[in-house]
Amino acid sequence: MTNVNYFKDQFSALQTSDPNELLTGIRKENFDTFSRSGLPTLRQEEWKYTNISSLFDKDYEFAADQEISPYLLSSLEEIRINGHQNANELVFLNGRYSPSLSAVRSPESQLVVLPLEEAIDSKYKALVAMHLGQSSSYIKDGIHALNTSFIHGGLFLYIPKGQQLLHPVYIYHLSDAGQQHTLSQPRSLIYVEAQAKFQLAETYKTLGTCESFTNEVMEIVVEADAFVEYYKIQNDGPNAHQTNTTHIRQMEKSHVHTVVLSLNGGMVRNNLNLVMDARGNETHLYGLSLLRGKTHVDNHTMIDNKMPDCYSNQLYKSVADDASTSIFSGRIIVQPDAQKTNAYQSSKNILLSEQASINAKPQLEIFADDVKCSHGCTVGQLDEEALYYLRARGIPKEKAEVLLLHAFAADIVDQIKLEPLQKYTEKLIYEHLTVS
C-alpha cells in the first residue's frame, strides 16, 4: 500500500501554499474520501479486472517543478501530433499545465486558455465553481478522489458561443520518471458554449525509466447545439500507467464524438462518462486497443440518460496479443424521464494468444419503458478463410495477419475526423503492427 503519510503531508502543504477558497473546499472533501476509501481494489465491482492498488507497492511521488531543458523540448518534439503548426498545443508537465511550453494559436475571441487558478480569479469564476468537481458525484473511488484532492496547476478552456474553432487543441502530457516513480495528476475543465464546435486530442509521454502513474481528470461541459470531438491517443512505455476520467456533460441537442486509441503502455484505465442533462443529444463513442506485451487497458464507459430523446452509439474494438489484457465495461443508465432513448453498444475483440485475455461487461440499467437499447460482444480469432485467401495470393502469413488487423482497426480509425490526426494514428498503428 502506498505511503499515506506522504500524501497527507503533501495535501497539508498544498492547502497552505495554494489557499484558494474554492479549491481548498473541493480538495478537502475529496481527501476525506481518499483517506476513507484508499485506492480501488479488485473487490470493487467497477475495478474487478484492474488492480491499480498493486502498482502503488512502489512509492510514487509528485515531481518538483523543473526548468525547461533541451531534453524536455526534444521529448516534446517526439509526441507532437501532425498538423501541430495549426493547432493550439497545450502541455502538461508532470501533471501541471505549463503555459511556457504551450502555444495558443487561436485568437481569444475563439478560445480562452487559462491556468485553472487564474480562471477562478476571473469572470469565469462562476462557471468554474458550478462545474469543477462534478465528476465526483459519479465516481466516488479513491483514485479519482486523489486527483481531486490535489487540484493545482490545472487548465481551463472556454470556447465562446457559436465559435467553430478552426484550430484543434492538442494536449501533450509529459511525465518525468527519470529520478523517481512519478505521480502526475492533470486536471482540466473545458466549457464549450452553445453552438460552438471544438476538437481536442490528448497524448502522453513518460520520460525516464522509473514508473510513472498519470491520474487525470478532465471535465467537459457541452452546451446546447455544441459539437465536440475528443480523441485520446495512448502509446507510452510499459512503465507508464494511467487512470483517467473524462467526464462529459451534454446539454440540449449537443453532439459528442470520441475515439480512444490505446497501443502501448503499462496498466491503463480509461473512464469515459457521459451525462445527458438535457434532451436530444447525440453521442458516438469509439475505442480501439491494439495490445501486446503485458499492456493492460481497461475501458470503462458510462452513459447516464437523464432526459428524453438521446441517441448514443458505442463501438469498442480490441486485439490482445502476447500476455496483454483488454477490458471493456460499458454501463448505460436510462432514468425514468429518459423516454425515447436510443442506446447501442458493441464490443468486438480478437484474441491472438493463449496468454492474453479479454473481458467485456455490458451493464444496462433501464428505468423507462419506451426505449431502444442493445448491446453485443464478440471475441474471436483472425478469419482463417481470409488468411488462406491472402496467402494463396503470395502474401506471407505475418503480412496477411497485419493486413487483417489493419482492416479490423480501419472502421475505428475512420472515425477520427480530424484529418492530420487520422494520418498520425494510421502511421502509429502501422508501426505498431509491423514492428512486432
Binding site: 485467401y389 496467402r391 495470393r393 503470395g394 506471407p396 503480412k399 482492416a407
Partner: protein, 254 residues
C-alpha cells in the same frame, strides 16, 4: 509443369483423394470434371496448400520443385494460382492495395524491385481492360458486397495481374449467368499463352464451350477414371456421368 503422382489426401480423417495421377505440360489446358463429391475441389485445395488437407501418400512436382514442401504463399510465388470457387470477402482491405502487395511479394521472391506506382497503375489499366473489370470494384474492399459474377471476374483479374505459370480454376463457372460466364471465359482465353498451363475444374460442360481444353479427365470417388480429349466432355454432357460411373461401380461390385 505439373506432375501429380499417386496423391492420396484426407480431410478430417476421411480419405477423399485415392491415388491421383496427372501430367500437365506447359501451355496445356486440362479440364477435370466429375459429379459432386468426387474430390475435384479437394484436389484444388491440396495443390494450393490448404492446411486442413492432409496428404498421406504421393508427390507433386511443380516446375521440378516438390510442391507439397512449400508453404501456401511460396506456392503462389512460384507461379501457382488458384481461382477460388467461393472468393472470400475481406472488409477493410482495399482490393487494389491487396493486389499491389501480392504482385510485389511475388517480385520480391523473384529478386525483382517492387513496381513503382506508375508502372503498377499502367499494368492495372491494361489487365482491367483485358478481363473487363471496372475501377469501381477495385477501389472497394476485397469482394465485399460483390455479386457472384463480380467475385469471379475479380479472381480472373488477380490471375491476370499475377501472371501465373499454372492457374487452377475451381468451378469458376458456378453461379454465373450466361453473360457473366462469357466475360469470365473471354478473360481466361486472353490469358492463355504457350507456356501458361490451366487446370479447369468444373461440374458442367458449358464452360468448355468457351474454353477449349486439350484434355478432359473424369474424377470419380477420388480417382481419375477416364481421360480423353474435349469430345469426352461432349459425351458426358449428352449421356451424363452415369454412363461412366455405373460401369465403375459395377466393376467394383464384381
Amino acid at each position: 509443369m505439373l506432375s501429380i503422382k499417386n496423391i492420396h489426401a484426407n480431410v478430417e480423417g476421411k480419405e477423399i483423394l485415392k491415388g491421383i495421377n496427372l501430367e500437365i505440360k506447359p501451355g496445356e489446358v486440362h479440364a477435370i470434371m466429375g459429379p459432386n463429391g468426387s474430390g475435384k475441389s479437394t484436389l484444388a485445395s491440396v495443390l494450393a496448400g490448404r492446411e486442413e488437407y492432409e496428404v498421406t501418400e504421393g508427390e507433386v512436382l511443380f516446375s521440378g520443385k516438390d510442391l507439397l514442401e512449400l508453404s501456401i504463399e511460396d506456392r503462389a510465388r512460384e507461379g501457382l494460382f488458384l481461382a477460388f470457387q467461393y472468393p472470400v470477402e475481406i472488409p477493410g482491405v482495399s482490393t487494389t492495395n491487396f493486389i499491389k502487395a501480392a504482385v510485389n511479394e511475388k517480385r520480391k521472391y523473384q529478386g525483382l524491385e517492387p513496381l513503382d506506382a506508375v508502372s503498377f497503375l499502367k499494368m492495372m489499366k491494361e489487365k482491367m481492360a483485358m478481363v473487363e473489370i471496372g475501377q469501381s470494384l477495385l477501389s472497394r474492399s476485397i469482394n465485399e458486397g460483390f455479386s457472384g459474377g463480380e467475385k469471379k471476374r475479380n479472381e480472373i483479374f488477380q490471375m491476370a495481374m499475377l501472371e501465373p505459370k499454372l492457374a487452377i480454376l475451381d468451378e469458376t463457372d458456378s453461379g454465373l449467368d450466361i453473360d457473366a460466364l462469357r466475360i469470365v471465359a473471354n478473360g481466361i482465353n486472353k490469358l492463355r499463352t504457350p507456356d501458361r498451363s490451366i487446370l479447369l475444374i468444373t461440374h458442367y460442360q458449358r464452360l468448355l464451350d468457351y474454353i477449349q481444353p486439350d484434355y478432359v479427365h473424369v474424377l470419380y470417388k477420388g480417382r481419375i477414371v477416364k481421360s480423353g480429349t474435349k469430345e469426352l466432355a461432349l459425351e458426358l454432357e449428352e449421356k451424363g456421368y452415369d454412363f461412366i460411373t455405373e460401369s465403375i461401380d459395377q466393376s467394383a461390385n464384381v
